[in-house]
């Protein structure tokens, strides 16, 4: 009977994954979230009597007798009678919220855990045993609660008074945790605080990773060479490719015979480039288990011809796998998992190729639209525009150098606006914009077209390190389901940087998820074009200056803001595109506040509030600021509880635009957007009591004590998202 009881309890944890730390709804009747149903809760309920918000225990919108009944039914209950799934692993912060809860760590670096006594069923002054356990699924935890520390021994921790700031613990020997996951880049571990010190995961214990998500993911360097030796076939001839463009190079794991079917990666070079110029990328991906080809690309006529050669070569390698490389890859290509990488015109070519499959104007013999799992254009052109170069809902990653002297982002020619392609994506997309990288840094041998401030060039080695790391992370995430690598797509380099990438390299990263199941969008700026109304239908009250919602498009080729050209500097939309954003500035304590429609206010299943934001290039305020910009995010619930978190809680400010000159006066190239994600958990730190079931407003505060004294922002995609 005892065992059965324990398993029921653990089942409850597995099913309730990650909810316990989001609201106090897990502990029925516990209004203030202190894990005890007592007089304090009764007082709060009565204070809100006949109102709404805190005390509304049955979530019917009213605090009334029914809620009182619920509270009395649970009177005296102490909730920590069950193990609690919480977040423990974090990047420690010096100021509130004191900890940035994350999952992914580079192998060999320190891991920290943090416990917030106000949100966690622990006793201050008590000592518990902390375990790092090889990751188990929820089912495995139910079947086996025995704690076995991967470090060899558990670690005693004593909980102190002083809130989360006083309860951050460095995980001893964490640098020795292995990230060797074989073909996976990393390896997972679950974290357990064994409160009763019985060596079992049991009632009252805390766990990070009790569900199917590992508590932490120790990852090797995604820019480092993978576990497999690589065999290269210098060239082979693709049957059926356009005459003169039939050659391709092949890389595959030397031990391919011992592996199952592997995904196929196709690399398409740019104009004036060579299929032989991507050895660094082909061999890197093959070392992590992929079959890779790089093909001759018919780029001189244009994008349509480029796309044709990619479509042809993809078809050909599938058809010829039994014969190329003396049959070494025969039967080894997993046709259901294909990724296309294209550079320059080849970058637009792969998008065009996908669009042709989408439109069914090209029908390959051996694969189809659904087999293309990921598009990665590098510094792509945009010749053909929205109707022909459209990635639709494909998984999409853009890699682009800010010092590109060819596809430069120059304001007078939208062919050079790579961001256009990304903005058209309606699926999952991420962008890595690399300061100091030029067009041909992403291959071995192209001309030097660097244009940027002296001393900022990162050259081939720097850019290719970025390419290797972030392309592999995207591949493993999208194609092989290695979900913890997603953190590479949004976390700042200061807290998560592939070691192969220089610490001095500035990476501006965007992550956009638009699936309704994964996000709740407050303002996309695509509908409700008044600045006083959000796309979700709520009102917007702004005290910031020069606010403008419009197409995110440079209008006069100067990169210079003016009241008549408020979106100058944005290179996100051609005249035929629809991507709209908001722009505004501040010089004192000012704000924007969105009212959240009631139907969207329950965000307990969400993990983050996020937005894309960037500084307005060359704007007087940006010039004055001359550095990173910060601001604050405020959430308010139905009873008026407001909690404020700095935008820099994850470790970085909104970066200053790359200080490149040209195309008008002044320094600062195109507007750069980065994704800011703040964990909703951060708004509960210290027991703020904010009710995530009833968020009624989001406010961004600027200037004053909220952040940078002055600034000019471009903002888009204010939304709540899941991890």
């Amino acid at each position: 009977m005892m065992i059965r009881s324990m398993r029921w309890s653990l089942c409850a944890v597995a099913l309730a994954i990650s909810c316990a730390d989001k609201s106090h709804g897990e502990c029925t009747g516990d209004v203030n979230g202190d894990f005890t149903v007592d007089a304090t809760d009764l007082a709060t309920l009565l204070a809100n009597w006949a109102g709404s918000g805190e005390g509304d225990l049955n979530h019917d919108g009213f605090v009334d007798g029914e809620d009182l009944t619920v509270l009395f039914a649970n009177w005296g209950v102490f909730c920590p009678s069950q193990p609690s799934e919480i977040r423990l692993a974090c990047v420690p912060l010096a100021a509130a919220p004191y900890a940035s809860f994350v999952q992914t760590f580079i192998a060999g670096t320190a891991v920290t855990i943090a416990i917030d006594p106000a949100l966690t069923p622990v006793t201050v002054g008590a000592t518990a045993d902390f375990f790092v356990v090889a990751a188990r699924s929820a089912a495995e935890w139910i079947a086996n609660g025995t704690l076995s520390d991967a470090r060899g021994a558990s670690q005693p921790i004593t909980l102190a008074a002083g809130g989360i700031a006083a309860n951050k613990f460095t995980v001893t020997n964490s640098a020795a945790l292995s990230g060797d996951g074989g073909m996976s880049v990393g390896r997972g571990y679950d974290l357990v605080v064994d409160i009763d010190r019985n060596g079992q995961f049991s009632s009252g214990d805390l766990i990070d990773g009790g569900n199917d998500r590992a508590g932490i993911w120790i990852t090797r360097d995604p820019g480092g060479t993978g576990p497999y030796a690589v065999t290269t076939l210098s060239s082979y001839t693709a049957v059926g490719a356009t005459s003169g463009f039939t050659l391709a190079r092949l890389w595959y794991p030397t031990a391919i015979a011992s592996l199952g079917q592997r995904p196929l990666v196709v690399i398409a070079h740019g104009n004036g480039h060579q299929y032989t110029w991507y050895d660094y990328l082909g061999s890197h991906l093959a070392s992590w288990g992929y079959i890779v080809i790089s093909h001759q690309n018919n780029t001189v006529p244009g994008i349509e011809t480029s796309s044709t050669t990619t479509l042809q070569h993809t078809n050909a390698i599938i058809a010829q796998q039994a014969t190329v490389a003396a049959g070494a890859i025969a039967g080894k290509i997993d046709v259901s998992r294909i990724a296309w990488i294209g550079h320059s015109r080849g970058g637009e070519g792969i998008v065009r190729g996908y669009d042709r499959l989408f439109d069914a104007t090209y029908t390959p013999t051996n694969y189809g639209l659904s087999n293309i799992k990921l598009l990665i254009p590098i510094s792509p052109t945009d010749f053909l525009g929205v109707n022909s170069s459209n990635p639709h809902a494909a998984n999409f990653m853009l890699l682009w150098g800010a010092a590109d002297g060819d596809v430069s982002g120059i304001p007078t020619n939208s062919v050079a606006w790579s961001f256009d392609l990304a903005e058209r994506s309606v699926g999952f997309r991420n962008t890595v914009y690399v300061h100091g990288a030029d067009h041909n840094d992403f291959n071995c041998c192209g001309v030097n077209d660097f244009v940027g401030p002296s001393g900022t060039a990162i050259l081939n080695a720097g850019a290719q390190a970025v390419a290797k790391a972030f392309i592999l992370a995207a591949m493993k995430y999208h194609i092989e389901g290695e979900k913890p690598l997603k953190e590479f797509m949004w976390r700042p380099s200061s807290t998560l940087r592939p070691p192969v990438v220089a610490a001095t390299t500035t990476l501006v990263k965007e992550l956009v998820e638009t699936l309704a199941t994964e996000s709740v969008t407050i303002d996309s700026y695509q509908t409700q074009t008044s600045t006083a109304l959000s796309s979700s239908g709520g009102s917007v009250v702004a005290t910031v200056a020069n606010i403008s919602e419009a197409l995110a498009r440079e209008t006069d080729g100067s990169f210079t803001w003016s009241t008549g050209n408020p979106h100058n500097g944005s290179t996100r939309a051609t005249a035929s595109d629809t991507q709209r954003m908001v722009a505004f500035d501040w010089n004192s304590a000012q704000s924007m506040e969105w009212t959240i429609p009631t139907a969207l206010g329950d965000v307990r299943t969400m993990d983050f509030i996020q937005m894309r934001v960037g500084q307005g290039t060359r704007h007087p305020n940006t010039v004055t600021l001359a550095g990173g910009a910060t601001f604050s995010v405020v959430l308010r619930d139905a009873v008026g509880v407001e909690v404020r978190v700095s935008s820099s809680a994850q470790g970085e400010a909104v970066n200053r635009p790359y200080q490149r000159t040209g195309s008008g006066t002044g320094a600062g190239w195109q507007n750069e957007l980065r994704t800011i994600r703040l964990r909703l958990r951060d708004f509960q730190t210290g027991g703020t009591g904010i009710n995530l079931a009833q968020i009624v407003a989001v406010r961004l505060e600027f200037g004053g004590t909220a952040g940078s004294a002055t600034g000019r922002f471009i903002l888009d995609g204010l939304q709540f998202t899941k991890e």
């Binding site: 005459s243 104009n271 018919n298 001189v300 006529p301 052109t381 071995c444």
Partner: protein, 244 residues
């Protein structure tokens, strides 16, 4: 005179005779065409910077012209309409590197016209087979002027009044008849001069270059590769990584 006679060099098959003595017109160092598989890794010359974009219409110098008949026609990618090509002229030109440099953004169209025709010219020195794009510093480009075939399989069009020039920056695959007409009008305004009849004769078979009969596009490509090897040998080898 835009196209200087003194700059003309006659190409006699793969043997070349310079009439002008102008340095740069002669091939750098003739080399055998490279087989299209598993090439050796070469030593990369110093990498140049990307030249600034040149203004157009811009003239060029024609070095050689070779009539071609193609038994099995192919659709050209250098016209929006993709007409079938069964004849034409294989041409070597010389021009400013700023006009020849490969770019991701639109490059100047390469155009040719006669007294009663205008055509989008195919060119090949951009990553073509084993081509290596730093070869633009040689100043030479190998190209092909498509033309309808006459009864003998060779171009039915006349070379009388032939002129070639660089037009506006566009993708060749977007070029249609209307664009060609506009480009020709722009060339007229820019006074792009035609060859004289004598010049045309000197540059073609009359001076010893054999007309080419190709079975198909693959054989045309082989002839093109041979010319690239002669006139822009740096484009022939495969590239090797080099520090900037």
């Amino acid at each position: 005179m835009v196209i200087s006679l003194s700059a003309v060099v006659l190409s006699l098959s793969l043997g070349v005779t310079s009439q002008s003595g102008v340095k740069g017109d002669a091939p750098v160092a003739p080399v055998a065409p490279v087989a299209p598989a598993t090439p050796a890794v070469p030593v990369l010359p110093a990498l140049p910077a990307l030249p600034a974009v040149a203004s157009t219409p811009a003239p060029l110098t024609i070095i050689s012209i070779r009539p071609v008949a193609i038994a099995q026609s192919y659709p050209t990618d250098f016209r929006k309409e993709h007409p079938q090509v069964s004849a034409g002229w294989l041409v070597v030109i010389r021009a400013d590197s700023a006009l020849l440099a490969p770019r991701a953004l639109a490059e100047p169209l390469l155009l040719a016209s006669g007294s009663d025709w205008v055509e989008s010219v195919e060119w090949f020195n951009h990553g073509f087979n084993h081509g290596f794009n730093q070869g633009f510093t040689s100043g030479h480009r190998v190209c092909f002027i498509p033309a309808p075939a006459g009864k003998d399989g060779f171009p039915s069009r006349s070379l009388t009044g032939l002129r070639m020039w660089f037009g506006s920056a566009q993708l060749p695959e977007s070029v249609d008849a209307a664009i060609l007409d506009r480009e020709r009008a722009d060339a007229d305004v820019a006074k792009i001069a035609p060859l004289t009849a004598q010049q045309s004769q000197e540059l073609t078979v009359a001076k010893g270059q054999d007309p080419l009969r190709a079975a198909n596009r693959d054989e045309l490509v082989a002839a093109i590769q041979a010319l690239i090897a002669v006139w822009s040998p740096a484009e022939v080898p495969e590239a090797a990584p080099a520090a900037k």
